[in-house]
Amino acid sequence: MKDWRYWLAEQRGTLLAFGIFIVMFIIYTSNHPAGFTANVVQTASNKGVLLAFVAMAQTLVVITAGIDLSVGMIFLLTNCLASWLVIGTGIETAFGVVAVLGTGLLCGAINGAIVIYGRLQPIVATIATGAVYFGIALLLRPFPGGSVNEDLADALTGRLFGVLPASLVVLLAVVLVIWVPFSRSVLGRAAYAAGSSEMAAYMSGVPIRRGKFAAYALAGLLAAIGGLFLTFFTYTGEAAYASGNAYTLFSIAAVVLGGVSLFGGKGSAIGAIFGALAFRTIGDLLFVFDFDPLWQPLFQGVILLIAVSLGAFALFRVRNRLEWFL
C-alpha cells in the first residue's frame, strides 16, 4: 500500500467534514440574496470561528477519551473577565488578554487535575466545575455589560485587505501556534495514546498523565481564546447560562461532525474546525430558505440528525460484525 493511502485513511474524518462544510456553504452562499460577498463571508466566519475555538478545545479533551462539559462555561467566564480587563491603552489591553488566556489555562488545568490526579470521571467532574465557572462568571457580570478595546476588536473581527476575514487568520494562527505543535509533541502523542489505550500507553512508559493534563489545560486555553473572541464580537460580557450550555453541546456535535472519535485516540482539531463551520452553516441555511419561523428549529434538528447519521453509512461497508464494537 502506498504512503499517501495511509495518509488518506488517517485523514478521512477531516476530509469528510471539509466536504460537508463546503457543500453546505455553497448551498448557503448561492442562495444568499447578497451572494458570495466579502461581507457575507466575514459574517459567517466570525460566527463560525467562535464555535471553532470551543470545538478545538473539546477535541483536545475528547482525544484523551475524556469529555469536557465545562468548555462552554470557561468560554463564558473568560468572556466576562475580558469585558473587564481587555480595555484601555495598548499595554493594559495586552495585559488583559494575557490575564484572560491565563484564566482559561487555569480552568483547564483545574479540570485536568481533578480528572487525572483526582481520578474522577470527566463527564460529571466537568459538569461540576462548569457550574463553578459559571458561578464566577456571574459574579463578574451579574448582568450584561462591560466593554472592550474596540480598535482591537474591530481589527480582529474585521477584514484584511478588504477581503480576508481577520478572524479566519487568527484561527489559522492558533492552529499553527497551539494545535500543530501539540499534536506533534511527545505530550500530544501521549494524549492520543492514553485515549486509545491507557494501559498499553502506561506499560510503554508514555507520560500519560502529563499528556492528558496538557490536553485539558490547553482546552481551557482554547476556550478562553473563544471567550476573548466572543468579547471582541459583542463588545461586552454576559453570563448567560443557556448559551454556555449551548456552546458545550454544539462543540460536541462539531467534534463528531469533524470525525473525532468520542472513544478517544482518533481525530484532529482541523476536522473539528470544519465540523464547527459546517454546524454553523446549518443555522445559516435557515436564512436563505424561506421557512415558517416555527418550523426552523425542527429543520435545524433534522439537518443535524442527518449530518450525524452520515457516518453510519460506513456501516454498510462493515463485513465483519465484530467491527461494530470497535
Binding site: 460566527k47 450584561p144 459583542t234 448567560a240 447560562y241
Partner: protein, 351 residues
Amino acid sequence: AEPEVVKGPAAEPDCFAPWSADTQFFKFPKKEGPYRIALANGYIANTWRIQMVQTAKAYAAQPDVAAKLKEFKVVSTGEDVPAQISAINNFIDSGYDAIVVNAQNPTAFGPVIKRAKEAGVVLVAFDNILDTKDAINVNVDQKGLGELWGNWLIKHVPNGGKILEVRGVAGTSVDTDRHNGIHEVLDASGKKWEVTEVVGKWDDGVAQKASADAIATNGPFDGVTGQGGDTGIVQAMIDAKHPFVPFGGETENGFRKFCAKFAADGLKCSSAGTGPAQVAVAMKTAIAALEGQVVPQAVKLPLAIVEDPNFKEGQDYFPDQSDNFFVGNSFPTCGINFTAQEIMGQSKENQ
C-alpha cells in the same frame, strides 16, 4: 443615511410615547414602500416567544399592514448572541429596509448598530432592548413594573411583613431592573420587610419548586411577588395550603385565572406586564420610521395592568386558553388589539 434628530412630538403621540422628557426624536428619510422587514428573534422554544412570533405574523397579515410590506421574514437563532448578531448582519447585507429585534443581550449589539446606521437600515428593538441611542427601542418600563408590584404589596400589606420574591433568570437586565424596582419602593416605604428571594427563572416548574421550598422553610408569607412562572407560584401555595396573600405578578393567563378564582380568599393580584404583542408596536414603529414619520428613539410602551378586583373573563383572561398564554395583547393607543384566537388561533384549521 442617518436619521435627522428633530423636535417632537411623534407622529402618533399616544402610541409612540417618548420614554422620557429628554428622549430624542428621529426622522428617517422617507423610503418608497412596499418594505422588506425582518424580525431577528433569539430563543424560540417557549410560549412567550412562540406567541410573539405568531402575533408578528398576524400583524403583518392585517390588510392595511400587508399592503405596506413586500416581505416579512422571521429568523430565530436560539440562545446564542453571536448567531443573532450575524443574522442581523445578514439582513443588512441582503438589503432589508428595517429589522425588528428581540435582543438576547442588550449590550452586545454595538458593532451591528454601527453597520445598520451606515447602511441606513432602521433597527427597532423590543422586549429585551438595546442600550444605545442609535437604534429605536420599544421599551417596557421593567423597573417601573417592579415598582408597581412593590407598591401593590405596600398597599395591601399595610404594616410590612414577610415577602416571597420569585426572581427571573439571573444575569439578565430585565431580572435586575424589576428586582431593583421592587426593592427601591419597599425600602422607601419605611416599613419593615423581610424578603425571601428565590430564583424561578420565569418558568412555572422552577418557580413552583423554589416557592414550595421557600414556603416549607421560611413561610408563611404575607405577600408574594413573582416576575414570571406565577401560575406555578400560586400552584405551590395551593399545594402547601399556604393562605392566599396579595400578589404582584406577570400576565400569564393561568395566573389571572387563579387571581379571578381566589380573589375572594385573599389572592389580591396586580397582574401587569406587556404581552408578546409589543412586537406589533415595534413593527408599527419601524414602518412609521420608514415612511419618514417622526418617531421617538425610545418608545415607552403602556403597561397592560389589571388589578384586583376587576379581572374580567374573556377580556383580561381566557378560561379556555392555555395557562401559558400571555394576556395583555392590546395597545389601544396604537390601534393594536389582538384576541387570543387571532394569535394562537393562527392555524386552527390544522386541527
